[in-house]
Symmetry: C2
Subunit: 376 residues, 2 copies
């Protein structure tokens, strides 16, 4: 027999999470998550799941019946949208202005579909004019896919206009709202979004590991009209909906992550209590405070003010400053996590998150003071 | 704006979980899970992940370097094994003696590979002689896939012999150990298992939502020699290993389910403290107690004694007894969950789990007494 390793219980310190996610988790959410586990077909649990569906619908501002939480992180939510809707050989216009647009392209290619990439420089919102031209040049395209809030750069794209353009050209829209949901305006039904996914660990301030997803009626029709089986059994929504259908009789697909779903339920209840519009406003207010303080320190933003995300502040690392050393000191001396740059911005930028429960005055104050001390 | 739904905090009762999973969760595991969330690239978290890898290796009895927990339930672990190893057009011999063998077949077909199904009647272990014949009749087969412990029937198959047969015929073995890991003998390296997956919510008594997975060196070589991209971006182990590599420098793939991983770490520490062999013995002892009591009530087992799983007791519902009414009374009056039959056994059998922390004398006693009262 191979011997057991010697280990200790893991007792993490209380970090202040101001990176690109996971964000600071509501204490109530952590408490909810540790409540006793019940069976995934227990009538009481199914009652909670019905509420959870209504809460996700509220957060997305949609009445879509096919609204669920995928039992895996946001990147599985992305894959859920692509593998269920896109069939081999179909054409998808993919907007790429950061890491996650590129990940969309990879999803499309792994299906055996064709990605027509519309590139916008990192740090800018998706260029609407270029998308228009791509839609006109590709009348056979069936989808327009883009990231609403690019976590790698902090740029907010104009989802409303992009979805309207998609509709005009007979395309279904696939939207990444991992970082936007709960932090900035997002109106799924009003904007006509067809497929959308998010993540639990950003502006919802829930534990990482779940991905809220919603499909419009048109998306559901596309799924039903498929000629080929969905390549993923685990993510096949025609099977998953047997469990989430909410008609009282739920059939087993996979064992739901019961305790994580308690946590999501509680985090969405916090959002509903505050009200979406109040949450959006709070993120904006905290961003303004952070911005004013960072500017006093001479720190510059990557993204222009007009399309800057309040919840994800990508800023250039001041010249001559040691990226890793500063982040280590913030973490070790202040228990404060800020994010490194990702992809093209690795080593050039920091990403300071003000997400969900993390968007609080005390966090802004701590971050500004700690940065001032460490940089001086 | 769509209005927020009215909801209440979800306060589940303390159920005694004696179904097919989730099992009773260790209180220490629930406590560990609600510790403060840290970032998924935090050095302290990475230290815990190194320990977690060693603990999974211990549970599987393997030194495989590619040993991780997939950030999703067991069915995603199954898919991880198939989509990483099997390429379109390849042939897989799939043993089917319950629901999960059939799920394996569906995984194979969704890859565009060929499944040669070896059927054994439900409730019996995989027929070794039939597998031998299928291997001889299909010299071009590249994989042998089977379920070690069928959760739908309670039958234990002879994994050691089946893996040896696979090796003799130049096949890689893919093994489902969702219900077996921690409950019965399982020796990955000694038996020469090439790819194996499990689930967190069975005999590990962790919260549902994670899937321990391990690949042998031969499996890793097969993955590296692929001519086609893995069809799933989320489950692509060549990417995931950048995060799990444990060489000190972890690269971002997706945001790890931090708190669920705390829970898995703690549950595996409980297993290591007890010792694998002691845990196997405890499951067997509790099974003997349950068996003696059930027999006194005139209840008969689905599976022959020789291949009966101690941790998953499938028993025939006595004639004239209302299946749903009995399970409802157990749940509502005793807070005791036992499992319904699945697939061919729906309405015909109950599944009584004695898994991990659930395999305790007080659970056996409660179950026997409650059944006696409800059935009288």
């Amino acid at each position: 027999m191979i011997a057991a390793p010697q280990t200790n219980a893991f007792n993490p310190p209380r970090r202040i999470l101001m990176g690109p996610g996971p964000s600071d988790i509501y204490p109530e959410v952590l408490a909810a998550q540790s409540r006793p586990t019940v069976g995934h077909l227990d009538p009481l649990f199914i009652g909670m799941m019905d509420e959870l569906k209504a809460l996700i619908q509220y957060a997305f501002q949609t009445k879509n019946q096919m609204t669920i939480a995928v039992s895996a992180p946001g990147s599985a939510g992305m894959e859920t949208c692509f593998v269920n809707l896109v069939e081999p050989g179909e054409k998808v216009i993919v907007c790429r202005n950061g890491v996650f647009g590129e990940r969309m392209r990879q999803n499309v290619e792994r299906i055996g579909a064709t990605a027509v990439v519309v590139d916008t420089p990192w740090g800018e919102p998706v260029n609407v004019e270029d998308v228009k031209q791509a839609l006109e040049a590709n009348p056979d395209a069936k989808f327009l896919a883009f990231v609403h809030a690019e976590t790698s750069t902090g740029a907010l794209s104009d989802a409303k206009t992009l979805c309207a353009l998609a509709k005009q050209h007979g395309c279904l829209s696939i939207v990444d709202s991992v970082t936007s949901l709960g932090g900035v305006e997002l109106l799924v039904d009003e904007w006509g979004i067809d497929a959308i996914y998010s993540g639990s660990q950003k502006c919802l301030s829930c534990v990482p590991g779940l991905s809220p997803v919603s499909f419009s009626e048109a998306a559901v029709e596309k799924l039903k009209a498929r000629k080929t089986a969905v390549q993923s059994w685990f993510l096949d929504q025609s099977l998953v909906m047997g469990y989430w259908s909410g008609n009282g009789k739920r059939s087993y697909h996979h064992t739901a992550p019961v305790n994580a779903l308690y946590a999501l339920h509680e985090s969405l209840r916090k959002l509903a209590d505050e009200g979406l519009e109040n949450a959006w406003q709070r993120h904006q207010q905290m961003h303004q405070l952070l911005k004013a303080g960072l500017e006093k320190l001479g720190i510059k933003f990557v993204v222009d003010e007009a399309s800057r995300l309040p919840q994800l502040n990508a800023v250039y690392i001041p010249e001559g400053v040691d990226d890793a050393a500063v982040r280590s000191r913030l973490l070790n001396d202040y228990n404060l996590e800020i994010g490194a740059g990702l992809g093209d911005l690795a080593g050039k930028a920091w990403r300071i998150g003000l997400m969900g429960y993390g968007a609080r005055r005390e966090n802004v104050a701590l971050c500004l003071r700690a940065l001032e001390e460490v940089l001086s």
